[in-house]
Each structure stands twice: as structure tokens, then as C-alpha cells.
Symmetry: C2
Subunit: 115 residues, 2 copies
């Protein structure tokens, strides 16, 4: 399981931007895992459903309209959680998924440096 180190209110990219220096082998493994989590169209649309939902949070019941079966939705959400891109919380019947803007900012920072 690869997770981005997210500190409250701060953006802490795991790795130096790709343009600043040649990546180490260890950093390349971490970064590749993050990009891989977004490399499937259905997974990316599920992620987008959560990211664009009010407050950056969505009930799993809100984001099932991507044309695949419920077990497939669950599989993709698990992959996104394992990559540290989504967090989840059970409330009563439903599981809610949340994307932290700092994670997106950290990933963008890997491409173009900190802002």
C-alpha cells in the first residue's frame, strides 16, 4: 500500500518533481503507483465523481452510474483507497468516500514542482 504523506493544511509531496532531478528507484516506485491508480478510465471517472461532488465527498450510492457492476465499483474504490487518493468512512448503511485536495495538489507538484 502506497500512501501520500498528507499533513493537515500542508502539501507534502512524497517525491521531488520529475523535472528537478533524476528520480531515485524508490521514489519512482511510489510515484508510479499513484499514477497507476488513475490509469484506468472507469477508476478515473469514479475518482472524478467523488472529487466533483459537493464538499469533495460522496456516498457510494451517488457514484455507481459509471456503467459497471457494483462489485467492479467496489474493486476500483478499494484500489483508489489503497493508493491514498481516497479515504472512506462508514456512516450507517453507506460508505462515504472523500478526496483530499492536498493529495491532488501533491500529485500535481510531482509534475511541475511546488506552487
Amino acid at each position: 500500500m502506497v500512501e501520500l504523506p498528507v499533513v493537515e493544511g500542508e502539501v507534502v509531496p512524497c517525491c521531488p518533481p520529475v523535472t528537478s532531478a533524476a528520480l531515485s528507484e524508490a521514489d519512482s516506485v511510489r510515484m508510479a503507483a499513484m499514477f497507476k491508480a488513475l490509469s484506468d478510465p472507469v477508476r478515473l471517472r469514479l475518482f472524478s465523481r467523488v472529487a466533483s461532488h459537493e464538499g469533495g465527498e460522496a456516498c457510494v450510492c451517488d457514484i455507481q452510474d459509471v456503467g459497471v457492476s457494483q462489485p467492479t465499483v467496489s474493486h476500483h474504490l478499494k484500489k483508489l483507497r489503497e493508493a491514498g487518493l481516497l479515504s472512506s468512512q462508514r456512516r450507517g448503511t453507506w460508505v462515504y468516500y472523500r478526496v483530499e485536495p492536498s493529495v491532488l495538489a501533491a500529485m500535481a507538484g510531482l509534475l511541475v514542482g511546488s506552487r
Copy 2:
């Protein structure tokens, strides 16, 4: 082959940021292909070798020290070129690879919006 539409001096992301609205199926296919190109550690290190080289350009002879065979290096460079992340130019004996900063900025824009 999926290419980012890069206009000279301008950043033109192919797709809306994931946080702005739920992605369409077509956009998700394009974006996923870009992320996929960076989802392999060796490919990411080759990309970083080029991105961090002087002037954002490197001879293929400069970037072979990533611990894989030369045919594997060629295979990964081809994938990066097909995804629109690198361009290449033959000069005499060697092929030179170049990364356009606007492509990195466009990818980052997909994650956090335009800057």
C-alpha cells in the same frame, strides 16, 4: 495514440480538471492513457532522466542507466512518445528526446485546474 493538444506557448489541457465536473467517458479514456504512460517505475525514471536533463532534452545515449536492456529502454521511450509526453528527433547517430514543460503543466492542470 493519445496526444495532448499542445499549442506553442500555451497550455491547453485536453480535459476539464477532475474536480470541476464529472468526467465524460471520452475524456476519461484520454486522461487515463496519459496517467498510464507514467504508471511504470522504469518508464517514469526514463521520463525523469529526460525532464531533468539540461534544456529538457536528452540523447538516448544519456538515459540508458536505469538497469534495463536497451530494447526495453526503446520500448518505454516509444510508449512515452505515443502518449504525447516526449517528442523525438534523430540527429546523426543518435535520437534525442524532449519533454515539453507545457505537457507537464497540462497534466497537472487536470488534477488541480489551470494556474
